[in-house]
Subunit: 335 residues, 2 copies
Amino acid sequence: MNRCEPPSTAIPPMKDLTTENITENVHIVNSQCRDSRLRYLLERIVTHLHEFCHETRLSTEEWEAGIQFLTEIGQISNDLRHEMILLSDTLGVSLLVDSINHPRHEPATEGTVLGPFHTHDAKEKDNGAVLHNDPDATQLLVVCTIRDTDGNYISDVKIDVWEGDSKGFYDVQDPNRTGPDGRGVLRSDEEGNFFFKAIVPVPYPIPMDGPVGKMLQALGRHPNRPGHVHFMLDKPGYDLLITALYPRGDPYESSDPVFGVKESLIVDLSKVTDPAMASKYDVEMNTPLLTYDFVLLTDQQARDLRKQRAVEEMRKQKRNVVWHNGLPVPAAECQ
Amino acid sequence: MNRCEPPSTAIPPMKDLTTENITENVHIVNSQCRDSRLRYLLERIVTHLHEFCHETRLSTEEWEAGIQFLTEIGQISNDLRHEMILLSDTLGVSLLVDSINHPRHEPATEGTVLGPFHTHDAKEKDNGAVLHNDPDATQLLVVCTIRDTDGNYISDVKIDVWEGDSKGFYDVQDPNRTGPDGRGVLRSDEEGNFFFKAIVPVPYPIPMDGPVGKMLQALGRHPNRPGHVHFMLDKPGYDLLITALYPRGDPYESSDPVFGVKESLIVDLSKVTDPAMASKYDVEMNTPLLTYDFVLLTDQQARDLRKQRAVEEMRKQKRNVVWHNGLPVPAAECQ
């Protein structure tokens, strides 16, 4: 039994709230929650929110602006526009959450931000498929393998690929979108290979016409992501890998507004110079070529790493851990 | 000159982000902001958000649930429904922000939460006016004075009053609302008096049909606010007072879900037993009666208190203060 009962059913009455005891009173009321993990999350959320107000002496006008800002983010969002994810991305939260949930060690491929442009309507495509309907683009042949940390090929991995067009826009940014473009769902073959025809990626600005764009402007930050191709590699028994590959030399390589670039994900593009290869993949000679060898962790490897790092973090806080559905709760919560 | 220039124009390139350096990298990028106050707010927001993820090992599913929760709060909001304020209220943030911005000392009247039901369309009404069009309600005569801390009457204060109906609903919760009801804007007379006919307030649940309601259910919290009448007292030169009065003995007096009750705001209702009074205020004998003497701080008194408490808070953090439009920024920011 991972859960623990709340400390007591006798909730002390609250009254006469002040700046001195409000935080304690909110914790008391929330301690009625019977889910120890949710209780822990709320305890930390309330503590951080209140500390923030105390430290900054947050003004009523700033509070109103914050309420308005967060409300507008919800209001501009829909099934195809995820402004709250963009906020999380631009504050470095998405990258951090990915790193915590999908820890990696050598030689496993590092993850990066999912971003706000993934959709669930991409079509299943055969290896060799062309992703984009974009006459202005420079075609890019992408040839990859997938292995485990022992070097064994992994077949039948579901590979979700998505990429913007030659103008720097994703299909979902087109108001007249009728269906997916620049997307596909592939499968790795018996020898862990998959390949497709993308386009040479270009840098593009994250959407600047919403509240997050206004925030970046107020902060003096540029909105330009270095060009990249997104990958999501999924197979039961292996830890989900959400990542992206960035061709080297992009002007925004070291100032990505969503903090997604990692050295190990920067790739040197080459060209198809072997006629046999051009024939095999049905591309013209000198077509730009991206090759990459992905390495997946198993679920067990990732779980062990996550647990180890959670224990290390709790030790830093001088707390022992109990586990609630695989997630940590301070042991003190149960005492 | 309160502002200080950002530390340097040379932003070190970011790369190879990890759980260890992501926070520092976000701070580096945000340090481009030329507004020292906004830079300080962002530094604290990012630090708290990242600490929260580290401490809790926030799972991807929890992050997604949080993104979805906040997005839905924006989507259910409109001009008459302010779900984000309700979230702030139920986490104790609104009360805390009010206390920080409108500090009080004896004998000034304490403030409390504005709540999500204030509107800007209430009509100007004469003293003695009836607020509600509610045949089922028990009328309540409200007779108040307003003074400064030296006991001098304050005339011509704009008093915004709002209250739910006898079923516990505010007018804005009525989908067929055609205009304001249970609201009015009054003025204090030469002797600082104002009076009107409200109804005996009843407890009511905060809206439970949205994301905040779901949160309260998950936390095992009840939604019932003790009955009250809202007041906003505004006059140039005096510190804005947003408050509410709570008749004593309400079953939810000591477990208010938005942490709004303070001992000094609980009132004992009496009855109109003097025929001269009944005649003067045009009410029947034995009409329930609420009397209250409000005491306002001047702008200067409130400003001095705010500044003093900000300095005390920064001293706790072992930081010196510089002022930016009257709001504190750590002095280290300018060094």
